[in-house]
């Protein structure tokens, strides 16, 4: 039996939702198995996201959006590369490159805010793009698969930044005898992101994420470059024969991907941290992969995934009140990705059980 194209699309659309719902169910069971109060936990999770009307709701919503912007930007980075058939595992490293670049130029540049902030974003974008281009060079000229090269580049970036730059040339001179690393200096006030609503600390980072989402959407679906990117991702050989410069397209896609990851790091530094900390929480790159997959590698899908998991991250902090550690957010995210990876199962079940219903519905319509 031939499955019509629309059905295929509908299933593509449904898979992430089913994956997230299944993850929520499994998470619920996990809490019960580890002796927690799952009902209270989930109530706190959704309240913590800022979805519950209470006194701190707006404040929590602002934190959720803050998380969401970083997640969405790394997610877009992975998704764009994915669309071109490239698996950018190097988002982690490109993110750190952007963060250190923002921290460095945030201290160095002392210009009016409306020049400094866009300038730093552009500089980090270029730095991240260049860092990602090493992997593109290795792939195109030396035949090294980008998954391996970007994993290695992540650790090169991490070690050169956190074990050299941050503890060496860019270190804040601590009091003599203090060996605890302190991170870099605080960036200038002119380099810190503007607030939209200062009372709850809502900053423009979510606007940056939204603009990036729209930009990537327009790039992918409204420009010839975007068409080429998708064509290369769909079938490299066919694209080559139809006259697309595959190498150039891959280079550009990877450059933008690295740039987006770097902007994400820069935004985190400019909006929340205000300096490059001594040790970054690891995993921003992997979060990005999760967002890209759960968002079905479509720009607005990624943004939605970012909003949801940004909220979960904030909500999980409130789960601690009922004795559930905040790392529960990572568990939910990982479960969702596992179910996306195992989407063969979901597709099989959807086609097996959802199909007869739609078929009868169509028959009744006729």
């Amino acid at each position: 039996m031939i499955i019509p194209r629309l059905e295929e699309k509908k299933i593509d659309f449904l898979v992430p939702f089913v994956a997230v719902l299944t993850a929520l169910v499994f998470g619920f069971i996990l809490i019960i198995l580890t002796g927690g109060d799952a009902f209270k936990g989930y109530q706190n999770l959704f309240a913590g996201m800022g979805l519950w009307p209470d006194r701190a709701q707006l404040f929590r919503l602002a934190r959720s959006l803050e998380n969401a912007s970083v997640l969405a930007l790394t997610g877009l980075s992975v998704a764009l590369a994915f669309r071109c058939g490239l698996f950018n595992i190097g988002v982690e490293g490109q993110f750190l490159v952007g963060a250190i670049s923002a921290a460095y130029f945030g201290i160095l540049l002392d210009l009016p805010s409306f020049i400094t902030i866009p300038l730093i974003l552009v500089i980090s974008f270029i730095h991240g793009g260049l860092w990602a281009s090493i992997a593109t060079y290795l792939k195109l000229k030396r035949g090294v698969h980008e998954v391996i090269s970007t994993i290695m580049l992540n650790w090169v970036a991490l070690n050169l930044i956190e074990n050299y730059l941050v503890v060496g040339p860019l270190r804040v001179p601590a009091d003599p005898g203090v060996v605890v690393p302190t991170g870099t200096h605080t960036i200038n006030a002119t380099a810190q992101l503007w607030s939209i609503i200062p009372a709850i600390g809502l900053k423009v980072d979510i606007i940056i994420a939204l603009l990036a989402t729209i930009a990537i959407y327009l790039l992918l679906f409204r420009t010839s470059l975007g068409y080429e990117i998708r064509a290369v991702g769909y079938n490299q050989e066919a694209s080559r024969y139809s006259g697309i410069n595959v190498d150039r397209t891959m280079f550009i896609a990877m450059f933008i991907s690295g740039g987006l990851a770097a902007i994400s790091g820069a935004v985190l530094v400019m909006s929340v941290l205000h300096s490059y900390p001594a040790v970054f929480r690891p995993g921003y790159g992997f979060d990005g992969i999760a967002m890209a997959l759960v968002g079905n590698t479509t720009p607005f899908g990624v943004l939605s995934a970012g909003l949801f998991f940004g909220g979960v991250r904030q909500g999980a902090a409130m789960m601690q009140l009922v004795g559930i550690h905040k790392s529960f957010a990572d568990i939910l995210q990982a479960l969702a990705v596992i179910f996306v990876a195992a989407q063969g199962i979901i597709r099989y079940l959807l086609i097996k059980y959802a199909k007869p219903i739609t078929a009868t519905a169509v028959a009744e319509d006729v």
Binding site: F87, I148, W155, V156, L158, D287, D330, A334, A341
Partner: protein, 336 residues
């Protein structure tokens, strides 16, 4: 200044046995995990979940050894068994995650890298969560009553003050596993029919299938063994090198194992050599940081730590030798 450096280098030479001692201890972790990488990738399945499985192995081993050790604290025979129970738990944990990876990637043809990433995220959050839920602590677990680190292997006929004695001082069972396992794996892969079949599945599954080799079974076997080995490597960190589980474990150990696997060109003995080579760098870095921090002004610590990864990139790029992965790597097999 010059005299100081000469002194530093001569003292470093004095430290050589200690350096090699550290190299063996650190290298064992990487080598065992790298063997897990080699066997999975030889069968055509990428396992970038090594990092996550190591973390899970490290945690399950500590948990099992902790509760077993305290439960049998009055029974010397059972008490002595507690690190072994920990190891067993790590093996089971690793096998289970390997099974999951195989189920999703082989049976359901899921994307191997995506699922590897998912396992890594899961283990990162999941073990932090379980640490809190089981031990009620956030930074690290309480120490186990008895770890492998408390029971180093002593070889009676080696003088502990000789060069070899100093190198082997305080080495645990894991060091010896790491030295023997690659040889066994090498013999298995290159000298037995089973090994030949496994490699055939990784190079050309269609041809292997035509010859009657069960591609699915071979891959399941390889990925589960891969999980077991990564689990053992995790137990090595938490019960062999230390005696507790810390929140950062394995801090990139799984990725450096992947690097060692590539650096060793998917050959068990090559990967073993690469593991010890990388570990020597790390030992050197620690030795310099502890004894001659002034030297770090000339060679920053970060450069030391980044070197193994840089070298791996160079090897991959063909600037230093050439590493070619198994042909069918990363591709799910569709039975025709």
């Amino acid at each position: 200044m010059f005299r100081e450096e000469v002194l530093a280098i001569s003292v470093l030479y004095e430290m050589l046995p200690t350096l090699l001692n550290f190299t063996l201890a650190f290298g064992a972790v990487t080598a065992i995990a790298a063997m897990g990488g080699v066997i999975a990738e030889r069968s055509g399945v990428i396992n970038i979940a090594l990092e996550g499985i190591m973390r899970i192995g490290a945690f399950t081993s500590v948990t099992a050894a902790y509760f077993w050790g305290y439960h049998f604290s009055n029974d010397p025979i059972f008490f002595e068994l507690s690190p072994w129970i920990g190891l067993l738990a790590a093996i089971l944990g690793g096998a289970l995650v390997g099974l999951l990876h195989a189920y999703i990637c082989v049976t359901w043809k899921g994307n191997q890298i995506v699922n590897g990433v998912a396992i890594n995220i899961f283990s990162y959050g999941g073990m932090t969560y379980l640490l809190m839920q089981i031990f009620g602590t956030a930074g690290h677990s309480p120490p186990v009553p008895l770890a492998f680190a408390n029971r180093p292997i002593v070889i009676p006929w080696i003088d502990p003050y000789s060069f070899l004695g100093k190198v082997l001082w305080q080495q645990t069972v894991f060091t010896y596993i790491a030295l023997v396992l690659p040889i066994l794996l090498y013999l298995f892969l290159f000298e037995t029919t089973w090994g030949l079949r496994l490699r055939a599945v990784g190079e050309h599954p269609r041809a292997a299938d035509t010859l009657g080799i069960n591609v699915f079974k071979s891959r399941y076997f390889a990925v589960i063994v891969s999980g077991v080995l990564a689990g053992i490597a995790g137990a090595n960190i938490s019960l062999g090198i230390s005696n507790l589980f810390t929140i950062h474990v394995p801090a990139g150990g799984g990725f450096i194992a992947l690097a060692a696997m590539i650096f060793g060109k998917w050959n068990p003995l090559g990967a073993l050599g690469a593991s010890f080579f990388f570990a020597f760098f790390r030992a050197l870095e620690v030795a310099i940081a502890v004894s001659f921090p002034a030297l770090l002004a000339y060679i920053p610590r970060g450069v030391f730590l980044a070197t193994p990864y840089l070298l791996t990139i160079l090897v991959l790029a063909g600037f230093v030798g050439r590493a070619v992965p198994p042909q069918a790597i990363g591709q799910p097999y569709e039975k025709g």
